[in-house]
């Protein structure tokens, strides 16, 4: 695709403005983009700004997901900035003399022959903004400082940072939704005395089939009215939610099956026969897991009778715009979505649904902006979860103890819950509110993700050298709970399973687990990561159980090796002591941001490993708050040592999803080392460990 410099960069009032379609969700992409612009054009950071992301103006870069932002938006920005740098150097030479090579940049100024004073870079940008971006413009790749503060941190510590939840515009109403007990329930009726009383108090009730909301000028009365209305609703529960054991549903015979070759599912390849008489076989499992955003989802919508405007923390505003337009029969040019910060989301949480629901309410009250906030219970019970899954593994080893044959089958629900418009109104059917409106539509049937390293097949094929391999994807289409993209997609469970299984084989063969891995790796960068880990661990004798694991996200991005030291206390509770993370993410752009992503990935996965499992029964989801769905807290946090290997000559790779898979496995392997229990199903709560001990 041809781009102009102005697709990525603008200049206003002496500042360089960066245009991006990727949104900052706490992963510091804004800071990284500012660093890239600085590296190429040397402007001080107070003269670089990242523009808000909006469908009205920003480039459409799809969804902010898959750890792709630094490669995609970062790469495009670098090429544009390098093109602009080439232009200003030529321009300086043409105006003042010398050749472009005689000129240099520093602090946003050009210095060279013929000019009495340094010339501001932006003064010479002019027509350079209209140039076509060339991918081969020489890049500078250099910065004058190593420490770049995260954009926005100063406002976060004073409370001035604004989330969409904090927006306030004239005549705005606050809104809350009154939810059914579960996805199959329908609203039979509402006690009219309650609803009339609420309306008499000046509040506004919106009902569209079983979609029910209340709005009013002050927030707390709206919260109270929503509670009163909830008590006044009569729901038809239908058949309720299926209560059978989810892990019994996760079997190949209930699945759409696809052979996977080189990370790509191929329906033209027959499913290869299972490994005959394997030396090792195991099944690893994971329950439904929530994103569990700290802030319940929110959105601000307004409708003037023709144009719909939504402020949202969605990760994919262009995708969502089209689904909202499709749902409402609007021309997508009359639907404008602008991103504003929400809390960290870690994938597709309630953000998109909340944006559409705010729009539904706003359309029923024209010319009145509506700020909808989900409750904590809404977010816990109604966000689309990360799917429950299983991985079935088998292996044969040769006489020398090396892996000879390896089979992995991933089994699970879909990660594709994002409301991406497609045939049969797929976008509309994936917005949860549409399932409850007077003319219900949805859910959309699960369709296998056929992309390389997509969905369930992500990291299903380990990077180890194994002569004979067999990979199968099993998409189970009819799970009891709605699912969508959660950090890492299939890579979290797949790496947990494979690295646990490798550990099992190494132990059974009497091999040291780290050396066993190295013996199956030819990639020098992988070996360098494991060598560094070995070196660091050599200085730190294990206290309690120690486990290690290795993974390379999507087999092509950041390489990560992790070691975990832990103890089990007398109540079978896991106490994480130390974690050592070694990573190679190619050329490092933002050292501190990269470290934060690795630490954050480790701690989210530690939370999955120690605590997280969505529970439900016939009457609905039972995980409705932080007591019924516990997560990691400060007391669980170990000392974490992050060691980065910089590769200045290699491309930068995203790292937000690189650590969780290896973290899960390292914790599982450390539990085995500590007490001899091989935990193959997440999470590892005291009750799970006691049950495993009894079963042994």
């Amino acid at each position: 695709m041809t781009e102009r410099v102005s697709d990525r960069l603008r200049i206003r009032e002496g500042k360089l403005l960066i245009r991006t379609g990727k949104v900052d969700i706490g992963q510091r992409i804004s800071t990284a983009l500012a660093i890239i612009a600085h590296e190429e054009l040397t402007l001080p950071f107070d003269r670089i700004e990242v523009l808000p992301v909006t469908t009205a103006d920003s480039p459409d870069e799809g969804v902010t997901s898959g750890s792709n932002s630094i490669e995609q938006s970062g790469g495009a920005l670098r090429a544009a900035a390098a093109t602009l740098r080439g232009h200003v150097l030529s321009e300086a030479a043409a105006r003042y003399g010398g050749t472009p090579g005689d000129w240099s940049l520093a602090e946003g100024m050009l210095i060279g022959p013929g000019a009495n004073r340094p010339v501001p870079v932006l003064d010479l940008a002019g027509t350079g903004l209209e140039l076509t971006v060339t991918d081969d413009a020489p890049t500078r790749y250099r910065r004058d400082t190593d420490v770049v503060p995260m954009l926005g941190i100063a406002q976060m510590v004073t409370g001035e940072h604004r989330f969409v939840h904090d927006y306030e515009v004239p005549d705005m109403l606050h809104a809350r939704i009154i939810r059914p007990p579960h996805a199959h329930a329908r609203l039979r009726g509402i006690d009219i005395s309650t609803s009339e009383k609420i309306e008499d108090e000046g509040l506004f009730i919106h009902r569209d089939g079983s979609f029910l909301a209340v709005a009013g000028p002050a927030e707390w009365p709206v919260v109270r009215a929503a509670q009163r209305l909830a008590n006044a609703c009569d729901w038809d529960p239908g058949e309720g939610l299926p209560e059978d054991d989810i892990f019994e549903r996760l079997t190949p015979d209930r699945a759409i099956r696809l052979a996977v070759k080189n990370g790509i599912p191929d329906k033209d390849i027959a499913i290869p026969p299972p490994l005959e008489s394997p030396d090792f076989a195991a099944r690893y499992e994971r329950p439904f897991t929530m994103h569990g955003a700290l802030a319940p989802s929110a959105a601000l919508a307004s409708w003037d009778g023709r144009r719909l405007e939504i402020v949202t923390h969605s990760q994919g505003i262009h995708v969502l715009r089209d689904a909202v337009a499709e749902s409402l029969g609007l021309d997508s040019r009359n639907v404008v979505l602008t991103h504003a910060p929400g809390s960290g989301c870690y994938g597709h949480n309630g953000a998109d649904d909340a944006a559409f629901e705010a729009a539904l309410i706003a359309i029923s009250i024209p010319c009145t902006p509506v700020l909808l906030k989900w409750s904590r219970e809404d977010e816990h019970a109604w966000e689309p979860y990360g799917t429950a899954g299983a991985v079935e593994l088998a292996a044969r080893v040769d006489q020398d103890g090396r892996l000879a044959s390896f089979s992995a089958e991933a089994i699970g629900g879909t990660f594709r819950g994002r409301p991406r418009a497609g045939k049969d109104r797929t976008g509309a059917r994936k917005l949860i509110a549409n399932q409850f409106r007077k003319k219900p539509e949805g859910p959309a049937p699960a369709v296998p993700n056929m992309n390389p390293q997509g969905g369930l097949q992500r990291n299903l094929d380990p990077v180890y050298d194994i002569p004979e391999t067999r990979y199968v994807k099993n998409l189970v289409p009819d799970l009891p709970l709605r699912t969508s993209a959660l950090r890492c997609l299939g890579a979290a469970l797949n790496v947990f399973a494979i690295e646990g299984f490798i550990d099992e084989i190494a132990h059974a063969r009497g091999s040291e687990p780290l050396r066993f891995r190295k013996a199956h790796l030819g990639d020098p960068r992988a070996l360098a990561v494991l060598d560094r880990l070995e070196e660091l661990l050599g200085d730190r004798p294990a206290s309690g159980g120690r486990g290690i694991a290795y993974g390379q996200y999507k087999n092509s991005m950041t390489r990560v090796a992790i070691a975990v030291d832990l103890d089990l206390d007398e109540t079978a509770r896991i106490r994480l002591r130390n974690a050592t993370i070694v990573a190679d993410a190619g050329r490092i752009i933002d050292r501190d941001g990269l470290t934060a992503q690795l630490q954050g990935g480790f701690l989210q996965a530690a939370s999955w490993a120690l605590h997280e499992a969505v529970t439900w029964d016939r009457d609905g989801v039972a995980s409705r708050d932080w007591d019924s769905y516990p997560v990691l807290r400060f007391e669980d946090v170990p000392d974490i040592d992050v060691s980065l290997i910089d590769r200045p000559d290699d491309p930068s790779a995203g790292a937000g999803e690189a650590a969780p898979g290896p973290t899960l496995a390292a914790i599982g392997n450390a539990v085995f080392d500590a007490c001899g229990l091989r935990m193959r199903r997440l999470p590892f709560r005291p009750d799970d460990l006691r049950a495993a001990a009894l079963a042994q």
Binding site: M156, S343, W626
Partner: protein, 152 residues
């Protein structure tokens, strides 16, 4: 009916229903939006404010119960020596990712250091356990506690 609250050193009259939880009064009536609402159940710590110097969750207790007490919100912390020191330490340690937990944590650390100027790591973890962070900024928050206490 009005209530008088002392917030960030100022007397403020509020007209919200006395049963309204404090966080809604702060955010909605007084427009002090730095205090975040995360659960409304006293489970996540995002809504912490200082009440007579003690970190206190503001999402359940009715505003009437805060009459006669000294409330300090995230917006008022910079005016205190400890609060400013803690804010600077959070910036230095980059102790945030998305920032939603940050207000509550800055308040909690300020309250902790005012009471215990040099907490060890285990004490800091225990004191901060009412506060969730889903991005995994915990190691940086603990580092910010160390930086802030060293600068006392």
């Amino acid at each position: 009916m009005t209530l008088t609250l002392k917030i960030n050193g100022e007397q403020r009259e509020v007209t919200s229903d006395p049963e309204t939880p404090l966080v809604y009064v702060l955010r909605d009536e007084l427009k002090l939006k730095g205090t975040r609402l995360g659960c409304g159940l006293e489970q996540c710590g995002t809504c912490a404010v200082l009440v007579d110097g003690e970190p206190t969750l503001s999402c359940v207790s009715p505003v009437a119960s805060f009459e006669g007490k000294e409330i300090t919100t995230i917006e008022g912390l910079a005016a205190t020596e400890v609060g400013a020191r803690v804010q600077a330490a959070f910036v230095e340690a980059t102790a945030a990712q998305c920032g939603y937990c940050t207000s509550g944590l800055v308040v909690a650390v300020t309250g902790l250091l005012a009471r215990n100027p040099d907490p060890d790591r285990e004490t800091a973890k225990r004191e901060l356990t009412p506060h969730l962070c889903r991005c995994g900024s915990h190691p940086r928050v603990l580092r910010a506690v160390e930086i802030a206490s060293r600068r006392a």
